[in-house]
């Protein structure tokens, strides 16, 4: 059955955001097949609720909201399953490396493999992972991220801050384990 031109136009516009949704789904599920199932279901739901999309607003944020809500409903069962971040305190990787006498950019960032960075992102609990995906990977503003996640902007900022602390701690631990940096006994990170 031929679809209406309006529906086709809506679908075509929505498909321009497919890579963002697929990357987000892939990082949330960590499984390409589950990511495709999640994205397909999100697009079908988006078409079903097309009338609730307000033209001129951010379609990418609207679609991401549908996708991540499906993820929480379907793949995780309950938001309560989200694991809290370890309390790493105020961990600032730049200061840690500088205090240890390393050149933070040249000695460390330039030597980190992309796969290690992806692993550090995927180790974040989903509630914190998704805000890093939106703001750091997809370039969402705090306002658009808040819309996609259904939370206040202040929550986006606090989750992002904690996620970045944890991410920096993971990258530091990797740099230590792989010998990229040599932590001194006096400067070991306290758990």
């Amino acid at each position: 059955m031929a679809e209406s031109p309006a529906r086709t136009a809506f679908a075509e516009e929505a498909l321009t955001h497919l890579d963002t949704l697929y990357r987000g789904a892939l990082r949330l599920t960590r499984d390409p097949d589950q990511a495709q199932d999640l994205v397909q279901e999100a697009y079908l739901r988006a078409l079903r609720y097309q009338h609730s999309y307000q033209a001129g607003t951010n379609m990418k944020a609207w679609l991401f909201a549908i996708m991540r809500n499906l993820f929480w409903d379907r793949f995780k069962g309950s938001r309560k399953e989200d694991v809290s971040l370890d309390d790493v305190g105020e961990f600032v990787l730049y200061e840690k490396l500088r205090d240890e006498g390393a050149r933070p950019e040249a000695d460390v960032l330039d030597k980190l493999a992309a796969s290690e960075v992806v692993e550090a992102v995927e180790k974040l609990p989903p509630l914190h992972r998704e805000v890093v995906l939106l703001v750091d990977v997809e370039g969402f503003s705090y306002k658009d991220a808040a819309q996609a996640l259904g939370v206040p902007i202040g929550t986006v900022m606090s989750r992002l801050h904690r996620a970045r602390q944890q991410l920096q701690k993971s990258l530091y631990d990797y740099a230590l384990e792989s010998g990229i940096v040599r932590g001194s006994n006096n400067n070991q990170v306290h758990e």
Binding site: D19, L47, R98, L112
Partner: protein
């Protein structure tokens, strides 16, 4: 602006979330403070590293076509 103020705002500066007035104040501080300037460069570099490490995946072509068939 002093160093603690600057460091407190660096995340929002890197994320382009400061007002134009705050941006000017912060840039003035960065010009005269090598330590904060280095930390800013580090944070901006780290953000780029996260982006480039995670955004290389795109939807497979066959999946894109399948969706287009289903949706349009």
């Amino acid at each position: 602006m002093d160093c603690p103020d600057c460091k407190e705002k660096l995340d929002r500066y890197v994320d382009r979330e400061l007002s134009s007035t705050e941006v000017l104040e912060l840039q003035l501080h960065l010009e005269g403070c090598p330590d904060c300037s280095d930390q800013y460069e580090f944070q901006a570099h780290l953000k780029r590293l996260v982006k480039h490490s995670c955004d290389c995946d795109s939807a497979p072509a066959a999946f894109r076509e399948k969706l287009r068939q289903i949706l349009t």
